[in-house]
């Protein structure tokens, strides 16, 4: 093994062994060439992307001289196999290292370590300009942002070859395209140059008036001056964070909670504290005991058909939450994208409707009912708070696209929106029922779920021995994708939960998708049994 240009690969898959008491999902990789040792430790739970972990460690080894110039690196394919990562992960790491001129590829020699960069001396090296080391220039916020989760999910969900239970949006079958075509040409003909021009930062006034009426239906009294139109409700979370949160401030969230919100709060340097939920929503007793110790800047909640759990905060807790907010003087961000999507039971008043003292910042969106691609959402809050939103919005992107606002306004004023809402509810009930039926038909023992009264998601607990990471891989082989539960937690948690969206796949594929998913679950359970018999706790070197 130990020939001149060869290296020995030893894989220690610590994940399965108790011998080395490190983090439960650590993998170690060695390669030897003479006395050189290359060792990469990957932490799958880290927020640092895999490729960066690989790149950073290799870069350090090169700069510290552990890997000497001329050291021949394993091929991308080989390294990927050994580390148990995608080839593209290693490819990206190598690409970065090449861009930094730390490694290079030569025909016949493979990929080798080049000279560590010498501090730039202009007299000696007048020709060669080294690439700008971007990472050194990045600010704290950029460094805190690591996971491309959402875009990964959007990308997978847009794939045509999979059955996707991942995305939180509607099956692409019944958007009112004809109505849109009609409205768009009619409006453009008469108001074209205004619809294509810059418009007010707070939003198109007629649309804010229409939203006033819509809010009235949700029990919220708000004039157009208490409303700002945003580029989707994601922007509501982002701007709220900018307006209220300084690094180190505490933000209280439900556990689990919407991952994109967690990401935003992390990126502004908030300290996130979680309050668990049960079937009646946020545990107010937990919250209260937390508040005796910390003074948070903001409470973030999705009280109705919560993402991911689907739960609804009951009326008693809604009132309690508001009382606590008043007592400790904490603003509440009420995220309500799904409130109108109720399939059974009675509507509960929103927190904003119950709020007597202007503590609630209410965010909602049209995206779960129609045209998510138009990116139109809004916030309702006290005037003083809206003023801050306007300033922040102006800096963020000036205003929301004008054309989309005109169209939404037209649809709210005609009955297109109301009709569409009815259609969506009808479709979603069918999809939900199909999924529940399929789950009952195929579920293995230990796979558990609750039937949601509304929203888009079914939150499922897996049998104990099924690891979500493995299930992702296995399900993807069967062309089924979903969102693993752990991304809805702010810290590291062992969570064998998954979120299934029943509205995202076409209805005819729901049954098949659930069947395939359960096959994947079963296979993992079988494999676990086999591993158990083989006594899989010895370290085996592989090449």
């Amino acid at each position: 093994m130990e020939g001149k240009n060869k290296y020995q690969l030893v894989v220690l898959n610590i994940e399965k062994h108790d011998i080395i008491k490190l983090d439960g999902t650590t993998t170690t990789y060695y390669t030897k060439r003479g006395s050189d040792i290359m060792r990469i430790i990957l932490n799958k739970n880290s927020s640092v992307p895999m490729y960066l972990q690989i790149r950073n460690q290799m870069r350090d080894m090169i700069l510290e001289g552990i890997l000497e110039p001329g050291f021949r690196l394993p091929s991308e394919r080989k390294l990927a196999e050994t580390l148990g990562v995608n080839r593209s992960t290693v490819l990206n790491a190598y690409r970065d290292l090449k861009a930094d001129d730390l490694i290079g590829s030569h025909i016949g020699k493979g990929t080798v370590v080049i000279m560590p960069p010498i501090p730039i001396n202009r007299d000696r090296m007048p020709q060669k300009v080294s690439k700008l080391p971007w990472t050194q220039l990045l600010g704290e916020c950029a460094l805190r942002m690591q996971q491309p989760l959402v875009s990964d999910i959007l990308k997978t969900a847009n794939r045509k070859d999979v059955i996707s239970f991942a995305a939180g949006f509607l099956a692409q079958t019944h958007d009112p395209v004809e109505e849109l075509l009609e409205a768009q040409s009619r409006l453009l003909k008469d108001y074209g140059s205004t619809m294509l021009q810059y418009s007010a930062t707070q939003g198109y006034l007629p649309l804010r008036e229409s939203i006033t009426d819509l809010m009235q239906k949700r029990g919220i009294k708000a004039g157009p001056e208490e409303i700002i139109v945003l580029s989707g409700s994601q922007q509501a979370i982002d701007l709220t964070a900018r307006i209220f949160i300084d690094p180190g401030d505490v933000v209280i969230v439900e556990e689990p909670s919407f991952f994109s919100a967690l990401q935003v709060f992390q990126s502004v340097g908030a300290k996130i504290m979680s309050v668990p939920i049960d079937s009646n929503g946020m545990r107010i007793d937990f919250l209260e005991s937390l508040l005796s110790r910390v003074k948070p800047k903001l409470i973030y909640t999705i009280p109705t058909f919560q993402n991911p759990s689907g739960t609804v905060m009951n009326i008693k807790r809604r009132r309690q939450l508001l009382d606590i907010a008043y007592k400790y003087q904490i603003p509440i961000l009420e995220d309500d994208p799904y409130g109108e999507l109720r399939y059974d039971g009675d509507h509960l008043p929103t927190l904003k409707a119950l709020d007597q003292h202007g503590y609630v910042i209410y965010a909602s969106t049209f995206s779960k009912i129609m045209f998510p691609g138009m990116r139109i959402g809004w916030v309702v809050a006290e005037r003083e708070v809206i003023r801050q939103f306007v300033l922040a919005k102006q800096m963020a992107d000036l205003h929301t696209n004008t054309l989309g606002q005109w169209i939404m306004d037209d649809f709210l004023r005609s009955n297109v929106f109301a009709k569409r809402l009815k259609t969506v509810i009808g479709e979603n009930i069918e999809s939900r029922n199909l999924m529940i039926k399929a789950l009952k038909q195929y579920a293995v023992e230990g796979f558990e779920w609750q039937v949601p009264e509304g929203g888009l998601y079914i939150w499922c607990h897996l049998p104990q021995q099924v690891d979500t990471e493995r299930l992702i891989v296995k399900a993807e082989e069967k062309k089924v994708v979903f969102v693993p539960g752990k991304i809805f937690y702010s810290g590291y948690v062992e969570s064998n939960t998954i979120r299934l969206s029943f509205s995202s796949p076409p209805k005819r594929l729901i049954n098949t998708g659930i069947r395939l998913l359960m096959e994947a679950v079963k296979e993992i359970i079988e494999e676990e049994k086999v591993n158990h018999y083989l006594g899989n706790d010895e370290i085996k070197p592989i090449l």
């Binding site: 600010g139 847009n158 040409s185 994109s260």
Partner: protein, 402 residues
């Protein structure tokens, strides 16, 4: 409730432009204040065709969530166009579609700036960029600038002696507010100096295609050996601003950061807007539309310059931009342009006083005039009225001095 906002909020002020724009909604007012393009030039008929085609052919995708990076065919078109016009070397994966180039500015601040980091900029510089970066609480240093760009010797001194410089923000073509463009020589010197330093360069380029005369000088990015230049672009001036489509073009390893920030800011830019522009570029001659815009703006610039020459009192200097949307006026030092603005509103004329365009050392005797948004007769009338106000200031100020 006593609302406590984040510290950064207390630095945000409602900008003067905003307040002014509120006034200019009054149709009586002759406004040289905003930076809006001429709406009568928007290709409305074509847009009706284009949006209809998009909805008929790919309605579902155009209305559905899209990817954070943007619509790939549009990214490709932008890369191709930049390579052709600005001699850059971009592929589609170097491009992130943003909700206008304002978002590119905001993301740049978010990605690079910690409190107290240094931003170098021209003097004066673009107001909305100052505001966007200000939110991240950096320290601005204005590099002395003349009509050909930054003074390179001064820039070099600053680069040599200042710690924590994160980036240099420049608008090399028909800068907002001055209307000045960097000379070729200055561009070369600039790139030659900055390559020795680990700083990023933000090349904000909304106006270079709105050129009335002369050759387009090379872009900074075309001379970027070190991969340190980030380009910001937009369709707001070459097409329509209401669609809110801009872009960031950068090295892929850095663009990844922008993509992450975009995702948490607003997921992605309106799919319908993106596809409509892409379809427009397929169906119509994008450059021909720019030619139309240029022809109109050139006339407006000419008439504004001519009227200024004829009407303004002596001792006032102004720039003669070869493109873009703005010109810059320097009054005698004792005149405060803010007072002039207050007086002009009485005459139903609006413009932006220049001091907002300086992050540190406000030159109160400066102002910016926009010529893209008003028809020629209104320009003549507005400049005449402004001249009356200015003469009044001349007379009163000089008599009080004596």
């Amino acid at each position: 409730m006593a609302i406590t906002f984040a510290n950064r909020i207390y630095g945000m002020k409602s900008s003067e432009i905003r307040e002014l724009l509120k006034l200019t909604e009054n149709p009586e007012i002759i406004s040289f204040a905003g930076g809006a393009p001429a709406p009568e030039l928007f290709p409305v008929q074509e847009m009706i065709q284009v949006t209809e085609k998009v909805l008929r052919e790919s309605g579902e995708q155009a209305l559905q969530y899209g990817t954070t990076e943007g619509f790939n065919p549009l990214r490709e078109k932008i890369a191709e166009r930049m390579n052709r016009k600005f001699k850059t070397n971009f592929a589609y994966d170097n491009i992130l579609i943003t909700s206008g180039s304002q978002q590119g500015l905001d993301f740049t601040g978010k990605i690079f700036l910690n409190e107290g980091d240094v931003v170098l900029c021209e003097s004066p510089t673009y107001l909305a960029a100052i505001n966007a970066f200000q939110a991240y609480m950096p320290r601005f240093i204005e590099v002395p600038t003349d009509s050909s760009g930054m003074i390179i010797g001064e820039l070099e001194k600053l680069l040599e002696t200042t710690d924590n410089i994160k980036f240099i923000y420049i608008v090399p073509d028909f800068q907002n507010p001055s209307g000045n463009s960097w000379s070729i020589e200055r561009r070369q010197q600039f790139m030659n100096v900055v390559k020795d330093y680990d700083v990023a360069v933000i090349e904000d380029n909304p106006y270079s295609e709105i050129r009335f005369e002369g050759e387009m000088p090379p872009s900074m990015k075309s001379m970027d050996e070190k991969g340190q230049v980030i380009c910001l672009g937009t369709f707001s001036k070459t097409f329509c601003p209401g669609l809110r489509i801009g872009w960031v073009a950068a090295e892929t390893n850095l663009l990844e950061k922008y993509i992450l920030v975009k995702q948490s800011a607003d997921l992605h830019t309106s799919s319908l807007s993106q596809r409509s522009i892409a379809q427009y570029m397929d169906s119509y001659d994008f450059d021909a539309n720019i030619d139309k815009i240029k022809a109109v703006y050139k006339k407006r610039r000419d008439i504004m310059l001519k009227t200024i020459e004829e009407e303004f009192p002596k001792g006032i200097s102004f720039t003669r931009p070869a493109g873009g949307l703005f010109l810059w006026v320097v009054l005698p030092e004792h005149i405060d342009a803010k007072e002039v603005a207050a007086k002009s509103i009485v005459y139903n004329v609006a413009f932006v006083p220049g001091e907002s365009f300086f992050p540190n050392y406000k030159k109160k005797n400066t102002l910016r005039l926009n010529y893209s948004n008003m028809p020629e007769d209104r320009i003549v009338e507005g400049i005449k009225r402004l001249a009356i106000v200015l003469k009044d200031f001349y007379f009163h100020s000089s008599s009080s001095n004596e």
